[in-house]
Symmetry: C2
Subunit: 141 residues, 2 copies
Amino acid sequence: LKNSQIVDNEIKELMISHEKVAHVQLNNPLDHALLVLIKSGYTAIPVLDTEYKVQGQISKAQILDSILGIERIEMERLHDYKVCDVMTTKVPKMNKNETFGKALMLSINHPFVCIEDDEQSFIGIMTRRSILALIHRYLGK
Amino acid sequence: LKNSQIVDNEIKELMISHEKVAHVQLNNPLDHALLVLIKSGYTAIPVLDTEYKVQGQISKAQILDSILGIERIEMERLHDYKVCDVMTTKVPKMNKNETFGKALMLSINHPFVCIEDDEQSFIGIMTRRSILALIHRYLGK
Ligand SMILES: Nc1ncnc2c1ncn2[C@@H]1O[C@@H]2COP(=O)(O)O[C@H]3[C@@H](O)[C@H](n4cnc5c(N)ncnc54)O[C@@H]3COP(=O)(O)O[C@H]2[C@H]1O
Ligand SMILES: Nc1ncnc2c1ncn2[C@@H]1O[C@@H]2COP(=O)(O)O[C@H]3[C@@H](O)[C@H](n4cnc5c(N)ncnc54)O[C@@H]3COP(=O)(O)O[C@H]2[C@H]1O
């Protein structure tokens, strides 16, 4: 099985389109971000700016670590911080026309990869689940 | 590329051996479990019983959801509950002699798979990362 046999337009088919991706904005307060994360049920989600470009990702762990006091989690401090204060800027991104092989390589160390169009606008995410499901389908042949 | 070409003894080489897997016990109080999860940095970890058999898995989200009050997270209630009260019993398990194809299939819907020996004792976990890294190596040939 060679990379070229995995049809590359599958990326757009495999991708979770941006309307279905839970995300937050750079300047959202952390209480809003934690609520989005808890309600969505996801560990980490993309952070976008006002031009819908990917700026990073934020996880529940990052939010809770930022308000972990000695005796307890100081929830009331959540409103004092913003997403941009605790997020990680290192989030894998690729263009929608790149290869499946690149998505596979990026997914080794990241649970999801952000997909951008030619203007770097966010159009969706590729998850490890969708990559593994595609490989399982191909290996089965 | 056929399943059989991926040498099956790779599972034991790819596996994270049990001494390196963060885990908790069925009867541990939730404050201990949350501490292990925060310190390990992992989203979810296996739950073992006193005979070192896999009984489930527990995540930070499950612990926090169990003590989420109206106004705040009620940390002081953590000591009142045990791991077995909030964990999920549905955790993918397989025997160490099964095929890579089975590990791949289970990893589609689960970030890790528990590996057992012939007495069902826990010997390690296979992670999506190690499966994707192996596939990337094979596809590159
Ligand atoms: N509501 C649900 N229903 C069924 N299964 C669920 C689920 N939530 C999580 N899972 C399962 O758990 C895996 C890890 O999810 P996690 O939230 O840690 O990590 C996720 C999350 O951080 C992110 N993600 C996935 N879908 C997302 C979405 N619609 N919006 C925002 N982030 C998403 O991508 C990571 C990898 O996702 P992936 O699907 O490969 O892998 C998922 C999936 O197999
Ligand atoms: N300390 C660290 N250093 C570098 N990268 C890190 C890391 N912690 C997490 N990651 C990265 O984030 C992915 C998701 O981790 P998560 O904790 O949500 O989900 C993890 C965690 O729930 C569990 N896991 C992995 N290693 C573990 C261990 N040694 N003990 C207990 N559970 C483990 O298996 C899931 C999938 O792990 P996987 O390696 O495929 O995928 C990991 C890995 O690519």
